[in-house]
Amino acid sequence: MATAAGELGVIGGIAAKFRSCPATGLKVDLAAERLIKANAVVAVVYLAIGGLLGLLVALTRWPAIHLLDADTFYLVLTAHGINVLLFWIIFFEIAVLYFASAILLNCRLATPWLAWMAFVLMIVGSLLTNWAVLQGDSSVMFTSYVPMQASPNFYLGLILFAVGALIGCGVFFGTLVIAREERTYEGSVPLVTFGAITAAIIAVFTIASGAIILIPTWLWSLGYIANIDTLMYKLVWWGMGHSSQQINVSAQVAIWYAIIGLLLGAKPLSEKVSRTAFFLYILFLQLASAHHLLVEPGLSAEWKVFNTSYALYLAVLGSLIHGMTVPGAIEAAQRKNGYVNGMFEWLRKAPWDNPAFAGMFLSLVLFGFLGGISGVVLGSEQLNIMMHNTLYVPGHFHGTVVAGTTLAFMALTYLVLPLIFQRQVIWPKLAKWQPYLFGIGAGGISLFMMGAGTLGVSRRHWDITFSDALLSFDYPPAAFLMMGLNGIFAILASIGGILYILITVGTVLWGKKVDASNALESLGPMPARVLQSGSSANVAKHGSAEAHHLPGTYVIVGVFFVSFVLYYFVNWKYLSELWPMS
C-alpha cells in the first residue's frame, strides 16, 4: 500500500494483511477493504442507472412533458424501483456490514472467498432481473403482485441476489465471532457495529420471507405450481419488503452515529438508550407488513391495528429516540468543542461545508420530518383509506429511503473515499454543494408527491389526464401543479445525483493519495478541537452520566413533536369529512 506500512498480521494462526489507518488508528484488513470497495462501486453504478430512470419517470409524470410512452413508462418504473431500492441500497449495505465488522473491530474478515462468492451471486442476480425487465414482458413493478406474472428470470434473479446478500450477512456474523474469539476489541462492540448487527439480523428475517414467497412464485411462473394466493403473497412479500426498509433505517442511523463520531468527536448520550432503541427494531419489525395491507379485504381490524402499530408503536419509539439522541450527541460534542454560546451556536458553527456532515444532518431532518411523520400517518389503519396507492405512498418513501437513507449513504461516501479508497475528494467546492442539491431535490419530490397524493392522484399511473379512458376524469388543477413541481425538484435531485457520481468516480480514479501527512484534513472541515487532537477517534471523553445541557436539541425535538401532532390530527379531520362507510 502506498500509505501506511503494510503489516502482515498473523492472528489465530491465519495470515491476513493489514494496514493501519492514519486518520483513526484502526487496523484495516486488506481483504475486507477490497470487498468494501467492490460492493460500494457496484452500488454507485446501480444508483447512477436507477436514478436516471427515476428522472425519466418524474418527467413522464409531469403532464406538460409526458416524456415516455405508456409501455416504456411501466418498464422504466419497474426498473427504477428495483435498481435503486434493491441493488443500490443492498450493495452499499453489504459494504457497510464489512466495514462495521472487520474494520471497526480491528479484525480480519471471515472467509473473504465466500464474501466474493456472495458478491458474484448478487451481480449475476441483479443482471438477470434487469435483463428480464428489459425484455419487456416483466413490467410488473418491483412488488410483482400475483396473479400478474413476470418471466421466470425476473424472480430467479431476485432469488440469486437474495442468496448472495444472505451469504454476505453470514460473513458479517462470522467476522463478529472471530473478533470475539481473537479479542480484537475490548468490552462491547461499538454502537455503530451494534446498529449494523441490528440491520443484519433483520436482513436474515427479511431474506427468509423473500425466499418463502419468491421461490414458490418462481415455480408458479415456470408452471409447476398452479396458483399463488393473492393475499398470502402480499402478506409474506411485505414481510420482506417492509422489513428491508428497517434494515435501511438501522444502517442509516448507525451511519449518522459514525459520521458525527468521526467529524465532531460525538459519542452517544447514553449507550444504553441508543442500543435499546436499535433493539426495539429487531423486536417489533416483523409485524410491519401489516401497514401495506390496511385496506385489503380479508384481514381482521384487530390484526391490522395491532400490527400496523408494530404493537403500540414500539418500533416507531426506537426511531423517535434516535431522533433525539443523534442531535443531542451532536450538541453535546459541539459544546465540548467550544461552541457554548446561546441555544444554537453549536449548530451554526457545525461544519456545514463538509459534505459528510451536511448530508448527514439533512438526512436526519428530512427523514424525520418528511419520511417519519408521513409514515406513521400513512400507517394508521383508517387514515390509510385516504392514501393507499396514491402518490402519497412514493412521497412518503422518497422521504425515508431517498432523502434519508440514500443521502446518508452519500454523506458516508465522503468519508469512505479518504479512509478506504485512500483518495482525497476531488472538486471539494462542488462536493460541498452536492448534499444540498440532492437533499433539497429529494425533499421536494417527497413533499410534492405527498401533495399530489393528498389530492388523490394515483401512483404508478401513466396518464392522469385519462385521455385514452372511456370515462374521463380531471384531477384538480392543484394536482397538476404538484406534478410539475415534482418534475422540477426531480431535476434538482438528479443534478445532485449526477454530481455525486462524478465526484465519486473522479475521486476513485484521480483523487490525490491520502497518507499520514494529510489523512485528517482529507476528511474535510471539522471543528478545531477535533483536528488538534490528532485523531478524530481520540476526543469525546464525556461520559453519559454527566448531566447534559442540551437546550437546542430540546427545541428541535419540540418543534418536531408539535408538527407531528398537528399533522396527525389534521388528517383525522380530513378523514371525518369522508363519506361514512362501514
Partner: protein
C-alpha cells in the same frame, strides 16, 4: 464514541440523563395514544373499513353483478354502452373490476346507504373514488362488501390505482349521486 467500544465497560448501569428520559416517556405515551386513536375510531368514527369479506369464484361474482345490473338498469352512460344501474336504497349493489374497466356505472341517492360489493375477476385492482378520495384494494376471489353512504351529489370517478398492466391508466368507472327520490 460510536465507532469505538463503550468507554465505560458496564455501560448498561449508567444512569440516563433526565431530558432523554423525559423524551422517551413522551414518545412512548404518544405511541400509546396513536394506538388508542385507531381503536377509538372503530367505536366512534364513521369511516371504517368493513371486514365483511367472502371467498368467491370470480365467475359467480360476475354473474351476480350481471343479474343486479339487469334488474336495476335505467339507461346507458353516454354513448359508451356501459349500463347505468340505480338500485333501491339499502340494497346490494355490485361493481366488477376487470381489465380495464369498473362495471357498471352506479347511480346512488345522497344520504342513503348501500351495500357495495366489490371484487375483481382477473388481477388485483385499486378502487380509488375521486375526488372523494376513498381508496381500497380489490382482489380476485375475495368479495368485499362495504356499506357506503354518499354525502354529496355529483359525478364521481373510480380510478384504478393498483397497477394492473399496460391499460392500467385507462381503467376508470363512475358513480353518480343524485338527490333522494330523483333516481330513475
Amino acid at each position: 464514541m460510536a465507532l469505538r467500544p463503550p468507554e465505560v465497560r458496564v455501560w448498561w448501569n449508567e444512569p440516563i440523563a433526565r431530558g432523554e428520559l423525559l423524551w422517551i416517556v413522551i414518545a412512548f405515551l404518544w405511541g400509546l395514544f396513536m394506538f388508542g386513536m385507531m381503536i377509538y375510531w372503530h367505536l366512534e368514527g364513521k369511516q371504517n373499513l368493513s371486514t365483511e369479506v367472502y371467498r368467491i369464484d370470480p365467475e359467480v361474482f360476475a354473474q351476480r353483478a350481471e343479474e343486479t345490473t339487469e334488474k336495476y338498469k335505467i339507461g346507458e352512460e353516454g354513448d359508451t354502452g356501459i349500463p347505468i344501474v340505480a338500485p333501491p336504497p339499502g340494497s346490494d349493489v355490485y361493481m366488477v373490476a376487470r381489465l380495464w374497466e369498473w362495471w357498471p356505472v352506479l347511480q346512488l341517492e345522497k344520504g342513503q346507504s348501500y351495500r357495495l360489493h366489490i371484487s375483481s375477476v382477473d388481477w388485483q385492482h385499486g378502487f380509488s373514488l375521486q375526488p372523494v378520495n376513498i381508496n381500497l384494494q380489490v382482489h380476485p376471489g375475495l368479495e368485499h362488501i362495504i356499506t357506503i353512504t354518499p354525502q354529496e351529489t355529483g359525478v364521481f370517478t373510480v380510478v384504478c390505482n393498483e397497477y394492473c398492466g399496460l391499460g392500467h391508466h385507462t381503467m376508470t368507472g363512475r358513480i353518480r349521486v343524485v338527490e333522494p327520490g330523483q333516481g330513475g
